[in-house]
Amino acid sequence: MKIRHLVWLRRIIQTFFLCLFLFFLVESRLSQDIYVDYSIAFSTEDDIRLDQPVTFFFQLDPLIGLTSLLSGHRLIPGFLWGFGVLLITLFLGRVFCGFICPFGTIHHAIGSIRPALKGDRMIRANQKTPGQRIKYFLLVFLLIGAIIGLNLSGLMDPIALFFRSMALSIFPGLGAGLRSVFDAMANSDFKVLKLISYGAEVLFSPVFGYNVQAYQTAWFIGLLFLIILFLNRIRPRFWCRILCPLGALLGIFSRVSPLKLEKYPDRCTNCNLCTKHCQGAASPHPDQIWEAAECLTCFNCHNICPEEALAFFFSRKPKLNRKPDIGRRALLGGILAGLSIPLLGRLDGRMDKVADPRLIRPPGSLPEKGFLELCQRCGLCMKVCPSNALNPTLGEAGMAGFWTPRLIMTQGYCEYTCSLCGSVCPTGAIANITTKEKIERPIKIGSAYVDRGRCLPWSGNVPCIVCEELCPTSPKAIYLKKETVSGPGGKKLAVQLPFVDLKQCVGCGICENKCPVKGLPAIRTICAGESRSLKNQILL
């Protein structure tokens, strides 16, 4: 195989994995009506599950597997894929970065389709810098932190970050924009526009869904994502070279890789084309020593060299590559940060002392400590939640729980017969429970209480029973009592007053979601009474 073919092969594989990633991203939702195989749920009462293995890329990511093992002491399902990636890295170097990683492909494409820098400036930007040690610092910090018991790797892991940004910010943004256009067309008075909008809706709904998905604080996630993309204008693949902790991990493993860049300095005419096209700032120029740990194995230098002064070869001799330039300070700093930040993260007391009442975790979540040890903040559960109740936290779970999932009942509610979030969680922070278990045990995520000052019948305004009507448990956790209250102007008003039976209530929040008192509903859900915690209980 000629090297030119190999570069094209790389491009094809990169495109394939990026498309596969986007396909799984789109498939991370209940199928739309036209595609559902209804007979399954109806005939066997099996739970409705997704058809595609949407967690594949999370399994492929060794950093997620490793941190879950270190902090949660658990081998995630499909961890062998990640193990395989490490094994391949031992032989081929960072091929994951160059060929597979969809986030890397995005950076690669942005940087090569329209390079921001020209000529000498690009050559200078592609020289190795001490800044590239930052990724080792981050890796050490995340690994030590994971051992101590705070798993923050999801914040920086490329797969989790890319998925979160796309699923919570970029996709819903596009979807909401398109939907508003179609709604405007459907409501116009021109029949042609209406027909076009219906047609367009059929095409785009399988991808973006029939409802507008919205996630609190998604603008922040999206902004960070755009900033990370923008960094490619400073240096090509800025993220992969300087920030990516997964790249750092794979870089360390590539030390023994027999795939080496052979250099023939006598042929070199010093045209610097190799450095100009280097994606990883891995010093491909024959006068420099090749940095195996930085090389993304894109084969650009080999391909571009007009004098054949560079070539990738499998070396028969067992010889170590150049040591990854971790830097003593990065190592020490990483260890210190890894030791201190998990402890600092507990200073707000969220984990041990107080639970924020709004922190309602998805059904089947592990106890808070175990949850934070495993949650990768990837946003997959939020993407699949059919009612859009699951949202990333900001401060509700404390610093340690940034961007972990919680239910916002004014936005959605936990559907009684649904247990989809647990079935897709890549690390098992949300246990994979069945709907039967959820109902029969029962798994409570919180409990509801009536705000009598706001409640329409309690405050003597009008009769209303919406919360009771919607309560899904049997017998209902909300019960009514007939009463005459004094209405406006002292008139007698016959109403039914709602009460909550805390023993029955599972905290699903449909009452809060549908309560006609908008803004701050008259019946609200708090996390107290959640069955995952022994402490956060109300009843004996």
Binding site: D33, Y38, C464, E468, P475
Partner: protein
């Protein structure tokens, strides 16, 4: 027409005017047809109420549905060839059919098949569900029925909700699920079950699932709201599914303990009579149920069965 010759500008303008003239003329001749007073066509007609009951073990729900329609003079009386028929079942809850919270899928599929036999161009199932629509379609069996019969499932979404004037006593402008308005014929296909505010939810209350907006505030004056909606959505016929009825813990249910098997179907072109007859299955008096009483007062129909043609079908 000669396509080889290039069209001059003058010619093209002339052609354009001629064709638009034709179209205008065609439209103008049609126009009086639309504005004919309704009173011309309608003639005082006696309503009917038919109760079908399956008494033998293992009777077929499908056949019972068919027989009930036959007793009313056949489905052709309600559905004409080429019609777009929209069926409004109650599939609001993602519950298995055995809990009687939703319209039984066998009744649904029987009605769809009847409509198709009558030559309906399209049969659609439309309900603005409470739970997530995809899950409701899957778990209630409506999706399976749609797949087997080839009927369209309409996914409720914001582009299909349009503000309309309901001209009710209490409700004025409200967002309405438009497939139910744009249909040639609408068939109301509710399930009979308990409800904690309106006592029962039957045919007329089923229209709460045909509107959007802040429909949870309708409960503040539930009876008037039901009547206002029922006078706006006038179905060709109402078929109440009382094969299983939910007697307690409604309308969501969730336990088979409160489900009573009645094996009954009630068909009527009078929405009030249908609801009244169904309420008797629960051992209740129709006049004691707020919205039925109010609907009779408002002239939507009657629960005085002697004014109707009564029929019974037993299997």
């Amino acid at each position: 027409m000669n396509f080889d010759r290039p069209l001059t500008r003058r010619e093209s303008i002339r052609k354009l005017f001629r064709w638009s003239g034709y179209v205008t003329l065609a439209g103008a001749t049609q126009w009086p047809l639309f504005t004919l007073p309704d009173a011309w066509a309608t003639e005082a007609k006696k309503g009917f109420i038919i109760e079908g009951r399956g008494q033998t073990d293992g009777f077929s729900v499908k056949d019972l549905t068919r027989k009930v329609f036959e007793a009313a003079g056949g489905i052709k009386r309600f559905v004409s060839r080429g019609d777009v028929v929209v069926i409004k079942p109650n599939i609001s809850w993602a519950r298995h059919p055995r809990f009687a919270a939703t319209t039984h899928p066998e009744v649904l599929s029987a009605v769809i098949e009847l409509c198709q036999e009558a030559g309906a161009k399209r049969v659609r199932i439309a309900d603005n569900t409470i739970h997530d629509a995809r899950r409701c379609f899957a778990i209630t069996g409506a999706g399976k029925v749609a797949k087997e019969t080839g009927a369209d499932l309409i996914y409720p979404r914001s582009s299909l909700m349009r503000n309309m004037k309901l001209r009710g006593n209490r409700l004025d402008v409200w967002p309405v699920f438009i497939p139910l308005v744009e249909a040639d014929k609408v068939i109301n296909l509710p399930v009979a079950k308990h409800h904690s505010l309106s006592t029962l939810t039957l045919g007329m209350k089923n229209w709460i699932g045909a509107v959007d907006g802040s429909r949870w505030s309708l409960h503040q004056d539930i009876n008037q709201s039901i009547v206002d909606l029922a006078q706006f959505f006038q179905p060709a016929v109402t078929l109440i599914d009382a094969i299983r009825i939910m007697t307690k813990n409604g309308p969501s249910g969730g336990s088979t303990d409160y489900v009573a098997i009645k094996n009954t179907l009630i068909l009527s072109d009078d929405p009030v009579a249908a609801d009244a007859r169904a309420s008797m299955l629960f051992g209740l008096k129709p006049e004691r149920i707020g919205f039925i009483h109010l609907a009779q007062k408002g002239g939507l129909g009657t629960y005085d069965f002697s004014k109707l043609e009564n029929k019974r079908v037993v299997m």
